[in-house]
């Protein structure tokens, strides 16, 4: 079987007449199989049943959990035990009732103790706030502590948005420089970011007031195209407090700035050319310390741990829980781009390769297939320090078993696949082939809003990237 990458294909639409002629010559069984698949797709699915049955199953699941495993496997009863049972039979209903009450209290209490909250449930569908052209730099939004404003990086500058997606202001960097990886301090006073200029990078800070005021200044401007825009002509023109300056050290890149919940520490990623990425923490007194290797750090609610991602097996990432003081790390499970909310929930992405069969050979084997990497967003409860999750994992519980789906991967058949099919049929080659497409819904930029009531994330869609808001609630 051969594979073709979409990148290597000429993306041309072939003449429909030739395509139809090719179809006429095709094998009758192939046509029948295609037809059968078409008929299958025409069978409607009962969506109302899907919703109702889901509720019913969840209720039944709760009932089964309350019954416990003892209900399914009663031990053999010996004669002696029968005798005891006979003696206790008159009091049996009372005993059973008392046991049932104890069990219910125990399960409810344990559930609260073990999980804090059951899980993070999605409310409604993701709401698109705004959309940008796709860039190489991921859209890494930062949310102000009160949730009213969002900062993103586009075109190398900082763009300030309202929480409904309206652009309020933008701050352009000095000529030849770019901004990256903004992070809003928990007290709301400062925004940190990376300034990249002529190969060297520094972590800078700007007073949040300066950033928000930049729009107000320019609103007075009558030029609509420059509304809300201000150019940072030089580093001195805006009160930038340099926190790390090392112009001599080229080929060192900084990214993924994130403040600890108390605002006393700033974690960031250091990427030196040809070396694994490192997580560093800078404390408020200016001291810097390497914590561990990894990427995409996120702080625990108590500020003592980080969850980071590291490359795992088969080109997927694993999430690790890292003790900031000691640097000790324990693996959690597969995932990437984690974000740990104040109420203890961790949102992260997982990826899986999905294969779809487009056409079949006469013997029923797949002929043309599409292989694509799909990402989905999930959440799990880690608590304040992740210790409960570690206990569960040690007890053999699966990482994904303890997580819930937040955003499912999109499953769309694109014009690329249809064109590729036409090309195959036109070429006259009917050997099995697999089209390998680029990843869709690359997870990026997830961040919790205040009190973890909503989650912001970005979704790439062709040449554009959408900023989406997903409302969530604790259940």
């Amino acid at each position: 079987m051969t594979e073709e990458r979409y990148d290597n294909l000429e993306n041309k639409v072939l003449p429909i007449d030739n395509f139809l002629k090719a179809k006429e010559d095709a094998n009758e069984i192939s046509q029948l199989l295609i037809h059968m698949r078409q008929v299958r797709q025409a069978v409607p699915v009962n969506r109302r049943l899907q919703v109702e049955l889901r509720k019913k199953l969840l209720e039944r699941q709760r009932e089964l959990m309350n019954q416990g495993p003892a209900g399914n496997s009663l031990p053999e009863v010996s004669k002696a035990k029968n005798h005891l049972m006979y003696r206790w039979r008159p009091r049996l209903p009372v005993i059973v009732g008392a046991l049932a009450v104890i069990m219910v209290v125990f399960f409810l209490g344990y559930g609260q103790f073990a999980k804090g909250q059951d899980h993070l449930a999605v409310v409604g569908t993701p709401q698109e706030l705004t959309r940008f052209w796709t860039e190489d730099v991921p859209l890494q939004p930062a949310i102000s502590p009160d949730g009213s404003k969002i900062v993103v990086v586009r075109g190398g500058g900082l763009v300030l948005l309202s929480n409904t997606g309206t652009q309020l202001a933008s701050l352009e960097p000095p000529a030849g420089a770019t901004f990256r990886s903004p992070a809003w301090s928990p007290n709301g006073n400062q925004v940190s970011f990376v300034l990249s200029h002529q190969g060297s990078e520094e972590i800078k800070q700007i007073a949040a007031e300066e950033l928000t005021a930049s729009g107000k200044i320019n609103r007075a401007n009558s030029e609509p195209q420059t509304l809300g825009q201000r150019t940072m002509a030089s580093q001195d023109s805006i009160a930038l407090n340099e926190t790390k300056a090392d112009d001599q050290q080229k080929d060192i890149h900084y990214s993924n700035l994130v403040y600890s919940p108390d605002g006393q520490n700033l974690a960031y990623v250091v990427n030196k050319l040809g070396e694994p990425t490192e997580i560093w923490v800078r404390s408020s007194d200016g001291q810097e310390k390497k914590i561990t290797n990894g990427d995409a750090p996120t702080w625990s609610p108590n500020g003592k741990f980080l969850v980071v991602q590291r490359p795992g097996r088969a080109k997927i990432y694993d999430l690790w829980l890292v003790n900031v003081a000691s640097g000790d790390a324990e693996i959690l499970g597969p995932g990437e781009n984690p974000v740990w909310g104040k109420s203890g929930y961790l949102a992260f992405c997982t990826e899986a390769i999905q294969e779809r069969v487009l056409t079949f050979q006469p013997n029923g084997e797949p002929q043309y297939k599409v292989r694509q990497q799909m990402a989905e967003m999930r959440s799990t409860y880690l608590g304040k320090d992740g210790s409960h999750m570690l206990k569960k994992l040690t007890a053999g519980e699966g990482w994904l078993t303890n997580s819930h789906l937040l955003v499912a991967p999109e499953n769309r058949i694109s014009g690329i696949e249809i064109n590729w099919l036409r090309q195959q049929e036109m070429s006259g080659s009917f050997e099995p082939k697999t089209l390998v497409l680029n990843e869709i819904f690359k997870c990026e930029g997830q961040v919790f809003g205040p009190e973890d009531q909503w989650l912001l994330f970005a979704r790439r869609d062709g040449d554009t990237v959408a900023l989406l808001k997903l409302n969530v609630e604790k259940k």
Binding site: K23, E28, I29, Q31, L32, L33, I34, H35, M36, R37, Q38, V39, R40, A42, V43, P44, V45, N46, L49, Q50, L53, R54, K56, L57, L58, R60, Q61, L64, N72, E330, I331, L332, G333, A352, V357, P362, N363, G364, L390, L393, T394, G396, G398, W399, L400, T401, H404, L405, A408
Partner: protein
């Protein structure tokens, strides 16, 4: 930290509600494809998932959840057919097709195609019918079909080959528009 999971299928790490979300459509469509009244097909779908939930602890993740689930679905379907032999079948699909997302005319045409195809499937031997339905309505692989039907994979392939041959001959005679 986590135990070695090389022999364990990833479906084994997923909670039941997520497996339900993933496979509801496949099971409901499979049963609506095979059973001639939508009401019965939906009832059977409910039965399948209820049974799957009750027996979820027995799923050992030695293979994909779909094969395990469709073994239940197949058994539920067989029980249904056995219990219905004395009854006359009804055509409920025209009604259900009208309720689909397409326009009424297109929906009726699709409904007719489904009925025609099902009629041809019914004329096949039961073994052939099962293999074709599990392959094209449930979209299972041969190995999974073998697991569901309790046959070897080579036997399933042979049944499939013969079934298609018969089906094609009959479909051409019927004048189906195999496009």
């Amino acid at each position: 930290m986590t135990p070695a999971t090389q022999n364990r299928h990833p479906d084994g790490d997923l909670p039941f509600e997520e497996l339900y979300d993933r496979y509801f459509e496949q099971v409901n469509r499979y049963l609506r494809y095979r059973v001639d009244t939508t009401w019965d097909a939906d009832d059977l779908t409910t039965t399948v998932f209820m049974k799957a939930l009750e027996n979820f602890s027995k799923y050992r993740a030695e293979g994909p959840f779909s094969a395990w689930l469709f073994r239940i679905a197949h058994n539920v379907y067989v029980d249904y057919i056995r219990g219905r032999r004395e009854y006359v079948t009804n055509d409920g699909f025209l009604e259900s097709a009208v309720g689909s997302d397409d326009g009424p005319e297109q929906a009726v045409l699709q409904g007719e195609e489904i009925i025609r195809l099902r009629k041809l499937l019914i004329e096949l031997a039961p073994d052939y019918r099962d293999v074709v339905a599990l392959r094209y309505a449930a979209e299972l692989r041969f190995a999974q079909i073998a697991e569901v039907l309790g046959k070897s994979e080579s036997a399933v392939r042979m049944l499939h080959h013969r079934a298609l041959k018969q089906l094609r001959q009959r479909y051409v005679c019927e004048g189906g528009n195999a496009r």
